[in-house]
Symmetry: C2
Subunit: 398 residues, 2 copies
């Protein structure tokens, strides 16, 4: 298995991108990633992977990867779409990594994208709910926010997580997002302004109790892309500091949430992280910066515990105590996370990896850079935790 | 790169399967493939790939791979859907092969499936047309049959292909299908009964001139599955004759048909086959049996030439002369092909590989078996030739 390096990274601002088609967005982020490898270089791309969940439903379009290679003038490169619900981006990265690791392909482009704002209101929630069980969940109207609400209630009861802890995460991630030029939500918020405001019943209505609007990620358009190659080719192709995929893991859990012995136990997160740490020969305490899948604030808490940064029941307290921001034990979602960067589902897993690459290259402005970061981790959470990917990246030569 | 063996194969009868969900079909073929490896063995599956084009559009369902691993009790195996239009099955096989070749996963299940008959008439054609260009093709009403009709006209003009040649392929493939228990169309036909019948205007109406109904594959439900592992593990896991993936290729061409210098030149087929032959260190004359993507009769002619079995302009004559059936130069689509087995789009690329595996194991009844077959080839044609996969399989130890 060859070591795989990430040599190029591209992203476009997430948000409302009414003027762009899905293909436009995938092409923009891909061109930025290709240009990032070498602005003057001629790069022969062997294969393209597109992470996308919903082009069929949202755009009535299929085979988007084939369209992208033509648009980018990368013919006759191989091209596939990879779909795994909200972890489609992570799965695209994984298959790109395997393609290079296998020795079959040398230079692989991975682009994740989603154009979700073409549908609004309940239709966006219904779109994501297409991943729920078609007999035991979907017909009864359960949605991902609904699942997250029930999960939060259980987690609060079992582990003593409080609203104050969740609020601290929303505030942290929106503060970070306000510094990120690619973030959808660019507005820092305060406890007094939103959560304790007399207008909070209007400004921050319940989405699925005990989760309110400001606990949830927005519905976004967006795209991100990476260029991968074998580590031994990296220096020839780019001047960027190479970042390698030190390890990754992917694990599944029951389709139906109700079938889990303990619904607060996110087994697939634990297992995916364990696989990644074993491959990387690292431990949670080695990680300097992490991007977790905070589609809802509770998930940042739960994932920070399940990957091993904190003991069960300690993640919320740690967030409230500032242990998950700059200067704390482990800075989490300093990009703003899904909460502020946004969550165009197919893009998210790729964007998380891109943000960690920037951190490990030490490429970010001082107010966003985790100092001397060497190891980074991402969690991309598919389904309601029924298909989860974890990547561990490492700065090379530092 | 490790050698990858196909150690298990499963298929369910294609056709109308109103009683089964997409997930049911994927599960049935997967169980058959797992059982085929060893009826009494305990097989730890590390990863699952599902080839599917349209669950989002046709079933309003996503993340089908995550659902499948749970249904099959294969948790916590990794699981992804791979989509590449009508070559989704081939792309799923490719990514399964890369996953094993990389050394990351040992035992991989690949299942392809589609439930297309939930939509009828123009809606089925519209569904497949979602792969056409969203600005320059789709809005003008061009469909895959329409493209195939224009392609046939050009091919006839340039290479002297005749209706008689195409008719001979329809007759051959339906005759073969009538012997295949998994085929959708089980009715052998004659020239007099269909094509020259006074009722042919009713029985065999034009679909897109010069192609008529009996030139086209049916709209089918169906599923097929494979189990892959490293060749060195094959003997430990199964008593089946191992068949290895000797080589494969995948190539893309312009998204828009009108942008090709010569629309009769299927460059992606040529390139995908060339890559596969180079990897396998074989030549077209080494191949004993082939499954080509005859969604329309003309494609069997064109692909048989583009992969190198016949010179340009000779494929149609060869078919008419019986060179593409038993005892001929190269038996093609002795399964019945898409024309008779059917074309549930996500299943096709997997089913083609499954049929070749049976041939190379010498497992078929005498009237369907190509004697002493050692090497087999498949072509899975995505888009209208804009994303094509070619696999070359080899019987081991023969």
């Amino acid at each position: 298995m060859r070591d795989v390096a990430i040599i190029g990274v591209g992203m476009i601002p997430f948000g409302r991108r009414d003027q762009d088609s899905l293909l436009d967005m995938l092409a923009y982020s891909s061109l930025k990633a290709l240009d990032d490898v070498s602005p003057t270089g001629e790069l022969k791309v062997d294969a393209v992977y597109v992470g996308n969940m919903g082009a069929g439903i949202l755009q009535h379009q299929t085979a988007v990867a084939s369209a992208l290679v033509d648009r980018l003038a990368l013919l006759p490169a191989a091209a596939d779409v990879v779909e795994n619900g909200p972890a489609s981006g992570g799965s695209a990265v994984k298959n790109g990594v395997l393609a290079v690791a296998s020795g079959y392909y040398d230079v692989v482009l991975v682009a994740g994208g989603e154009k979700m704002r073409e549908v609004t209101g309940w239709r966006a929630t219904d779109f994501v709910a297409t991943l729920t069980h078609p007999q035991t969940e979907y017909p009864y109207g359960i949605t991902l926010p609904g699942m997250a609400g029930m999960f939060t209630q259980l987690y609060m009861e079992k582990y003593g997580v409080t609203r104050e802890m969740l609020v601290s995460i929303a505030i942290k991630n929106q503060e970070m997002g306000a510094l990120n030029p690619y973030a959808h939500v660019e507005m820092a918020i305060t406890k007094e302004g939103i959560f304790d405001s007399p207008h909070s019943v209007v400004n921050n209505p319940p989405v699925a109790e005990p989760l309110h609007l400001y606990d949830a990620c927005p519905v976004s358009d967006g795209s991100a892309a990476l260029v991968l190659c074998p580590l031994e080719m990296a220096k020839k192709l780019t001047k960027n500091v190479p970042v390698v995929v030190a390890g990754f893991g992917q694990a599944t859990d029951t389709h139906t949430l109700a079938e889990r012995d303990d619904p607060t136990d996110l087994k697939a997160v634990t297992l995916a992280a364990r696989q990644a740490f074993e491959r990387a020969k690292l431990k949670p305490e080695d990680i300097d910066v992490a991007e977790l899948h905070d589609a809802f604030t509770i998930l940042e808490v739960a994932e920070s515990e399940h990957v091993g940064f904190f003991k069960k029941g300690e993640g919320g307290k740690a967030a409230l105590a500032g242990e998950t921001t700059f200067g704390g034990k482990i800075p989490i979602n300093v990009s703003g996370g899904l909460k502020a960067r946004g969550h165009p589902v197919g893009a998210t897993g790729v964007a998380q990896v891109a943000d960690i690459v920037w951190q490990l290259r030490h490429d970010l402005p001082a107010d966003r850079q985790v100092k001397d970061a060497e190891y980074g981790l991402t969690v991309n959470f598919g389904g309601f935790g029924n298909n989860v990917l974890c990547f561990i990246l490492k700065r090379v030569g530092s």
